[in-house]
Subunit: 287 residues, 2 copies
């Protein structure tokens, strides 16, 4: 499979990989952006979360997941997981040289740099994403004068999975994490407060309203799902890999693979995909 398009190649599905269900926010954006594409989504639910694991382990798991998607004949690979994108993308591009491999970090950094006037950008994600520093590097590569503050917000993952996306607990957690970065109560931050906030975890878009209520109306919130979908669209288009058929109403347009707990995947996944998932449409795979 070379990088040049072919009819056979373009009719194949796009593989989307995440550590769990959070990447379904990216799948949702991909589906909206590219109505002629079919998708196979793999959530490594047996081994989530990746966000607290070492780089070596994240790379090993990400490669196993990508191999499983490639065995299923995908024409491109979207790494929807921020942690895997931050930590494992170089290893994956090395391993799959002929495959279009797109992560969420570069599109997110691109969007942040475009949105920020002041160059003061805040990034919130998992521990591993923040520690890995990929967003920080991707932003300063594009804008060397940018000042990036990155903060791990592990509790947001739990809130999103519990479905507590509004209410007092979500509000208190958002204040605890974000008020020091954006809040009016912080003396001395003044002009250096960030004007742009990157949601560098696929779980965080479902908390966007409560995050907005804490950071205020002026901060631009960059959700990497939408920006990644646009980047994937361009890359596939450039390589002649876009599908030709209207896939939007195909019953098997989106297939789901999970490494554990298909019932839980379907139940919680619906929250992130913003449509219900039937547990019978989720296939259990062993990596």
């Amino acid at each position: 499979m070379g990088s040049s398009g072919s009819a056979a190649a373009s009719s194949r599905p796009i593989g989307v990989f995440d550590s769990g269900v959070g990447g379904l926010t990216v799948l949702r954006a991909l589906g909206a952006e590219m109505p002629r594409e079919r998708f196979v989504y793999l959530g490594d639910t047996a081994r989530l979360p990746y966000g607290t694991k070492s780089p070596e382990t994240v790379i090993r798991y990400a490669v196993q997941a990508a191999d499983a998607l490639i065995e299923r004949g995908v024409k491109a690979l979207i790494v929807a997981c921020n942690t895997a994108s931050s930590v494992a993308l170089p290893a994956m591009r090395e391993r799959y040289r002929d495959m279009t491999v797109i992560g969420v970090v570069e599109p997110g950094a691109e969007a942040a740099v475009a949105a920020s006037r002041s160059g003061h950008i805040a990034v919130i994600g998992t521990e591993a994403t923040v520690r890995g520093g990929a967003y920080q590097r991707a932003i300063t590569q594009r804008r060397p004068q940018a000042q990036v503050r990155a903060l791990a917000c592990q509790m947001f993952v739990a809130l999103a999975e519990e479905g507590w996306t509004s209410g007092p607990v979500a509000r208190a957690a958002a204040e605890q994490y974000l008020a020091p970065l954006f809040g009016p109560a912080t003396p001395g931050v003044g002009e250096s407060a960030a004007d742009t906030l990157v949601l560098a975890c696929t779980h965080f878009p479902v908390l966007q309203a409560v995050i907005r209520s804490v950071v205020g109306p002026r901060v631009v919130i960059v959700d990497s799902a939408a920006t990644t979908a646009r980047a994937a669209h361009s890359a596939l288009s450039e390589r002649g890999l876009l599908g030709g058929e209207d896939a939007a109403r195909m019953p098997d347009r989106m297939r789901f693979l999970a490494t554990d707990g298909v019932a839980r995947f379907a139940a919680i996944g619906g929250r992130f995909l913003a449509r219900s998932i039937d547990a019978r449409d989720v296939e259990l795979v062993d990596l």
Copy 2:
């Protein structure tokens, strides 16, 4: 290795297994209860949490972890993880017939039944522990008229790991979960409110103060760490397996194995063990 004691057997360490760092609350109680014992603790940090996984996966992982401890010559096996105790204990006892295998469920149920006057008992734990129903069964086996309400409190796990054990987020989460079970604002609950609350997750003891502030002073809170330590002490004593040497000051009294992230294990683990852990004392193992 039979169940009868021998000098060689009794001098061997006790194996303690958990999905991550939470079981260190049990290790701490074991160390206090049995000053003449040495311990090897294994935290399956690469694959935590177990609390959201299917029973099949929990059993497979628990057996792999137990095998690794048995290879290291432990004389008994304490399953500190509530999820693994709930789901995998029968399979483990079947597999390790000559080994003393102690979980946290039976001691916790025993203590709850002894503490409750009314027989109305609440159990809080992970999704898998609650769904598995082992506590509910263990309590009603001992007291058939008991009324048990079990509630999954996943957010408590994240709070404990983040170190947010007090403050507004912990308080709001405790109210959200527990006020419906214990709070005065619930009309109609009245006499049927539980008088005993079982902390059926090793992460929860570090949240005991905030839980207490919500449930009020009259509810008996059962922490299965202390009750499990006493049960282990009795079982080892009965089988002549107690160690004879004062181990409390041995520099290698507690050894730690983790399947990922030794630095994180040491950093977060200290919170649960209530003493600092040097990352150099944590060995990385692959299961």
